[in-house]
């Protein structure tokens, strides 16, 4: 029986806010660029991640694509990351273009701003997906056919929307309470849809790479590509293994000295050495597999934390206040026609800002603290609200 790996890597960097006080409000409208404050500096972080992850990983992927004609993979790249690459690391953007030029790298659709707009403003969500689509077409010459929402946040409504919008496939977390006895290793149909297909992340094997790879306390440590390929080969009831993870897993979340690049380098070798094994793009998989069953997800499921819901972004009152206040400004923001103001407002929608305000990090711990530029979720909230105040001031000035 033939089996395939669907490898999908999600690349994103937010525009982090600088340290912004109430004394800056009404006088300095520059929220993001921070030459004077290196700890918040987006440029510095981008260049660090490029050096540790994007450059070595893209070099390796390019090499693997050249060596193995059967090797394929999928990417998503947020508009915000593309903007920052254009500005500070154009060579990295070109290396992404080199990958897609092989015709064996498919890019998924998503919101340009890595936002949760779907849950707050459908019209705004559609605009951001459209912006992202145009950017991908312009830079990579391909039109996304499969969509993933920010943080893999998914529910039945999103699937229905995606079908109406013409997408052939959509991605979600393969979360056990939803799947029940079913396996994520098959194609599914979202409840209430006719044509669109649903691909579910196999979080166990994905997280073996993304989270557990470098953990020397894990009983399976160290994880080699040999061992990993063996596990997949021993899993008999499967069409495909959906390995969905952050792009930055390679070299940033999992460091080079732990052997993550060796793992990736040998994975195609080890996997393809068995007859019938292959790699697929999303579109290949959708063409090849018919849905085994219908999946009903009325409640939103994400790929984060042990709860797999939106509580990492909207779980506490601070987060809900911040996000509600932001979206309330929409009509006024749009009516100004001020492109800079609209762009700033959209950059504030990036889910990372709300993630920094999460107070669950005492339990879900390391992941949240590792990604936050703030000392505490309260500092993140104050900073965000000071920017919000300035934005209301600009609206007033705009009349």
């Amino acid at each position: 029986m033939s089996k395939s790996i669907v490898l999908y890597m999600h690349a994103h960097q937010p525009w982090r806010l600088r340290h912004y006080t109430i004394f800056d409000a009404a006088s300095d409208h520059n929220y993001f660029d921070t030459d004077d404050q290196p700890e918040y500096a987006n440029q510095k972080i981008l260049q660090k991640v490029a050096h540790k992850s994007y450059i070595p990983t893209n070099n390796l992927l390019k090499d693997l694509l050249a060596r193995h004609p059967e090797f394929k993979l999928n990417l998503s790249i947020t508009g915000l990351l593309i903007e920052q690459l254009e500005r500070w690391a154009p060579e990295v953007l070109r290396s992404f273009q080199d990958l897609t030029a092989t015709g064996r790298v498919e890019i998924a659709a998503e919101t340009y701003y890595h936002s949760l707009a779907f849950f707050y403003d459908r019209d705004e969500f559609e605009r951001q997906v459209q912006m992202h689509k145009e950017k991908i077409e312009q830079l990579f010459g391909q039109t996304p056919k499969v969509i993933r929402n920010t943080e893999l946040a998914y529910n039945n409504d999103l699937a229905r929307w995606a079908e109406d919008a013409g997408y052939k496939g959509i991605l979600a977390e393969g979360w056990d309470p939803v799947l029940g006895w079913r396996s994520p290793n098959f194609m599914y149909r979202p409840a209430g849809t006719q044509n669109i297909k649903l691909m579910l992340k196999n979080y166990r094997v994905s997280d073996d790479i993304a989270f557990r790879f470098g953990d020397s306390n894990w009983e399976q440590w160290p994880l080699t590509s040999d061992k990993f390929a063996h596990w997949l080969n021993e899993t008999h009831d499967a069409d495909m293994f959906n390995l969905f993870m952050d792009y930055e897993t390679f070299g940033e979340h999992q460091w080079e000295d732990k052997g993550i690049f060796e793992f990736l380098e040998h994975l195609p070798d080890k996997w393809l050495s068995k007859e019938g094994n292959g790699f697929l793009t999303f579109s290949d998989a959708i063409e090849r597999f018919e849905p085994k069953d219908e999946i009903d997800m009325p409640d939103t499921v994400t790929w984060a934390d042990t709860e797999r819901d939106l509580t990492a972004w909207t779980g506490n009152n601070m987060q809900r206040q911040a996000i509600a206040n932001l979206y309330e400004l929409k009509d006024k923001i749009m009516s100004t026609g001020d492109l800079k103001l609209i762009d700033d407002w959209r950059r504030l929608q990036t889910s990372d800002h709300f993630y920094y305000m999460c107070t669950k990090w005492f339990n879900d711990g390391d992941v949240h603290a590792y990604f936050s530029p703030y000392n505490s979720p309260y500092d993140a909230f104050i900073n965000f609200m000071n920017v919000y105040h300035d934005m209301t001031w600009r609206l007033k000035e705009a009349g």
């Binding site: 109430i22 206040q321 609200m385 001031w393």
Partner: protein, 396 residues
């Protein structure tokens, strides 16, 4: 005099009161040695300031008077002392210092200096006056507080020759908590020196708030530590009621403290996050301008032995609403007063000021009249009388 802080190394009103009182007493004829636990700048022409820091240490590094103290010794090593150890170290050093000094009265401000004061009295035999600016129950927001501190306060006040309380409220609490005889406690209210106020300039540091006011927004301010004693959760809950009626109101909380995160969460829970602005701790212009940008200053303290901030608000042009549980409410008449726990009434009065410019103007005009008459000289005269009473008694 024994004290723990003087401006600019002060965290609150105690240092200001000590400085202004000392200046007034010097003017009334007192010759003052003021002993602090750390080296101090600037120098004053009306008193000598001496540092009682650890022998053999060349520099004392400090953030504020209530954090741990770092002693850098001559060999370059250092020792960190917490507040209780520091209090003990101060007492020992003061005990040594007094052996080389001549003085007629020991006058000590608040519990951190009380053990040093007892030791100084034992060695010198001169009368001891304890000046109580706050007791442990005030600082613990109405709870009993730290039993070690309570013991120091109780013992010292029992042994002292005389106790000065900064308000009737403070005197009552001393009697209630420590059973000190009422006739040994004298109420001498704090005051302020009007001419000590730094002038405002034209450009307010809170440009955002000033601009929003021009569009009809109102600003309510509190200036102080975000700590249980100050009762700010009551103000935030009152704010929610105010915002329901007057949505264009911003509450400006100037200060920092252990209650900050709780207050942020409370405002979010009440759905008024965009109406509550947290600035962190501020000094100088940003501190002055916070008063002046506001339409009303609110001091919702659960327990405030005196509370100088309403006078500061008056100085910078803003009327006040203060809790009845404050010492200053015994002497300040031209302001609104409310029980700290009566959030509904607090909201009612805030809305009243927001909606009636004439009320705000009248309150401030009258407060200004009261404020102009304030001075430390009356307090200084009373204390000098007390000194004479004791020194003459000793001489006789």
């Amino acid at each position: 005099m024994l004290g723990w802080e003087l401006p600019p190394n002060n965290s609150g009103g105690l240092g200001v009161a000590c400085l202004q009182l000392s200046r007034a007493m010097a003017a009334a004829g007192a010759d003052i040695d003021f002993i602090l636990p750390y080296p101090h700048e600037p120098k004053y022409d009306f008193m000598r300031v001496t540092s009682a820091h650890r022998a053999g240490s060349s520099i004392v590094n400090r953030v504020n008077a209530y954090d741990s103290f770092r002693y850098i010794l001559e060999d370059g090593s250092y020792i960190d002392l917490g507040i209780h150890d520091q209090q003990t170290a101060y007492a020992l050093m003061v005990g040594k210092l007094v052996e080389q000094m001549e003085f007629d009265v020991i006058h000590a401000h608040d519990w951190l200096t009380f053990r040093a004061a007892l030791l100084a009295r034992e060695k010198s035999g001169v009368p001891l006056i304890l000046h109580v600016h706050s007791i442990e129950r005030d600082r613990a927001g109405g709870n009993p507080g730290n039993p070690l501190v309570r013991e120091i306060e109780a013992t010292s006040m029992l042994l002292a020759d005389h106790v000065i309380a900064v308000s009737q409220r403070t005197k009552d609490l001393i009697i209630e908590d420590y059973a000190i005889p009422a006739d040994r406690i004298e109420v001498i209210h704090n005051s302020t020196d009007v001419w000590d106020v730094e002038a405002l300039d034209t450009d307010n540091a809170y440009g955002y708030l000033a601009d929003m006011k021009a569009c009809g927004w109102k600003v309510i301010v509190n200036v102080g530590r975000l700590t249980v004693q100050k009762g700010l959760p009551h103000l935030v809950r009152a704010a929610a009621e105010v915002v329901k009626r007057e949505p264009k109101t911003i509450f400006l909380l100037v200060g920092d403290g252990e209650q900050r995160d709780e207050l942020i969460e409370l405002a979010a829970e009440l759905g008024i996050s965009k109406n509550v602005v947290f600035t962190g701790f501020q000094r100088g212009k940003r501190w002055r301008d916070a008063y002046s940008v506001a339409d009303l200053f609110v001091m919702p303290s659960v327990s405030e032995p005196f509370g100088l901030t309403p006078f500061e608000a008056t100085a910078y042009g803003t009327p006040s609403l203060i809790s009845k549980q404050s010492g200053v409410s015994e002497v300040f008449r031209s302001c609104l007063k409310v029980d700290f726990w009566d959030e509904h009434e607090m909201a009612n009065q805030i809305v009243g000021v927001i909606r009636n410019q004439s009320l705000a103007a009248e309150l401030h005009a009258n407060a200004w009249q009261e404020y102009q008459k304030l001075s430390w000289s009356k307090a200084a005269d009373k204390i000098m009388d007390r000194y004479r009473h004791f020194t003459q008694r000793v001489a006789a």
